[in-house]
């Protein structure tokens, strides 16, 4: 058992994986000892735009894919250098898929895969700024249903690692994150491609009141992701490819409650073969830290 855990940890550290820019509540909280927090986040994306490579093509069958995910996320801070996080999605998805030349409607809903992470951070507090370097090994546990024609998950154990840096001053916030997911083969031989990406957030602390502890950040997000090609048996994802998204983020906070709304629009997409665009993405979350 010890050998297994050691091997698992070594693998998680040596491989790359998930870096969560969408940390519960926000990257820098709770940084206090024995602090904890929760966040509920709603994510929508999808499109009926059909791509071949990076070119839009006609879509006579009306192929489309739309996904709504409700994420429950939590964090516990042992001390500012080490935290534990969980993320659990509830997924509702529908699509029109080309099956033997006909557009066939499919839909499914249910709990997705549970993601556990251990963010390890090195902080520097230097007068008028604070920053931290982070490394986050993660594991995706196959708790999602992988049965049916349009399964929620592929039933695989996946491993991730992210490297990050964030810096904050009274007026500005920046965050850079590199992440990688190593996806293994799941049920029925399904395997998603590995995922590699970069996410950059730049933010301006537009308003803050020391008296009421109310404030607002206006941020801009840019992320680029490469998805490896899934195998033939995979029924969960569209094809692999490259995606660059960008868009604004609004963050409001009052005492220990934070609200975050994010809109991402695909700047560039290049899919393997023919696939629907990921489409615009909307992300709305509210979190609380204790």
């Amino acid at each position: 058992m010890k050998l297994f855990l050691l091997s698992l940890f070594s693998f998680m550290v040596m491989s790359t994986s998930y870096t969560s820019a969408d940390q519960p509540v926000m990257d820098m909280a709770p940084r206090w000892e024995k602090g904890y927090g929760f966040q509920i986040r709603q994510e929508f994306f999808g499109s009926d735009k059909l791509l071949q490579g990076s070119n839009k093509i006609n879509n006579p069958l009306g192929l489309e894919r739309y996904v709504s995910e409700t994420w429950l996320e939590g964090v516990y801070t042992f001390n500012r250098s080490i935290r534990a996080t969980f993320k659990l999605p509830f997924v509702y998805q529908r699509r029109v898929k080309n099956i033997n030349g006909s557009g066939v409607k499919q839909k499914n809903s249910g709990l997705g895969d549970l993601i556990l992470g251990v963010p390890i951070k090195y902080y520097r507090n230097k007068g008028a700024y604070t920053d931290n370097f982070g490394i986050t090994p993660s594991i995706r546990i196959p708790t999602g249903d992988s049965s049916g024609d349009f399964p929620i998950a592929d039933g695989s154990w996946d491993f991730g690692l992210s490297l990050s840096h964030s810096l904050e001053t009274p007026k500005y916030y920046t965050s850079v994150e590199l992440f990688y997911w190593k996806n293994t083969t799941g049920k029925n031989g399904m395997k998603s491609g590995d995922e590699f990406g970069l996410e950059i957030d730049l933010g301006y602390h537009a308003f803050h009141s020391d008296i009421t502890n109310f404030g607002m950040f206006i941020m801009w997000d840019l992320n680029a992701v490469h998805n490896g090609k899934p195998n033939e048996a995979n029924l969960t994802t569209f094809t692999g490819g490259q995606l660059v998204q960008t868009g604004p983020i609004l963050v409001l906070y009052k005492n220990n409650v934070m609200f975050r709304a994010e809109l991402k629009y695909p700047l560039y997409e290049d899919v393997d073969g023919i696939s629907n665009s990921r489409g615009p993405e909307i992300n709305i979350g509210i979190g609380i830290a204790f």
């Binding site: 926000m26 820098m28 909280a29 709770p30 940084r31 206090w32 000892e33 602090g35 500012r80 902080y123 520097r124 507090n125 230097k126 007068g127 008028a128 700024y129 604070t130 920053d131 370097f133 490297l163 840096h165 810096l167 904050e168 001053t169 009274p170 920046t174 850079v176 590199l178 590699f196 970069l198 950059i200 602390h205 803050h208 020391d210 502890n213 404030g215 680029a224 490469h226 906070y253 005492n255 220990n256 934070m258 830290a289």
Partner: protein, 138 residues
Amino acid sequence: MSNIIILAATLLLFMAIPSYSAHDEHSHDNEKQIHKSTDIGNINVNENEVVIIVNGIVCSFCSQGVTRKLSKLPFIDQSKYKKGVKVEIENQKVTIAVKPDSEFDINEVFRSIKSGGYEPVMAYQIVENEVITFKPQE
């Protein structure tokens, strides 16, 4: 793909270079220092209050832990400010209200701030019309 890796590495390197220097960490002796001073620059200290300069405390949401831990100390006067604590992120200043005639312990204050994830640099208190400064132990 190689372009993405190069871009990412460059950005990470760039982000690692600090570009702010205000209130740089002071070098401290390893032992606690308490000494009297009347020169406190722009720091305004009132009776029954202690002002602490805290490195990196630039985000009020992130400093909730400091506020919470300080407000639980027995000598904090919770009737003032927000449970006895005021955080000013623009100048990295934390002001705590202290109950008169209570047993004030500056080390407890420093411990609470560190436990909240930040580094206290210096604290100022008025005692018998004189300003006393405290430095934390390293």
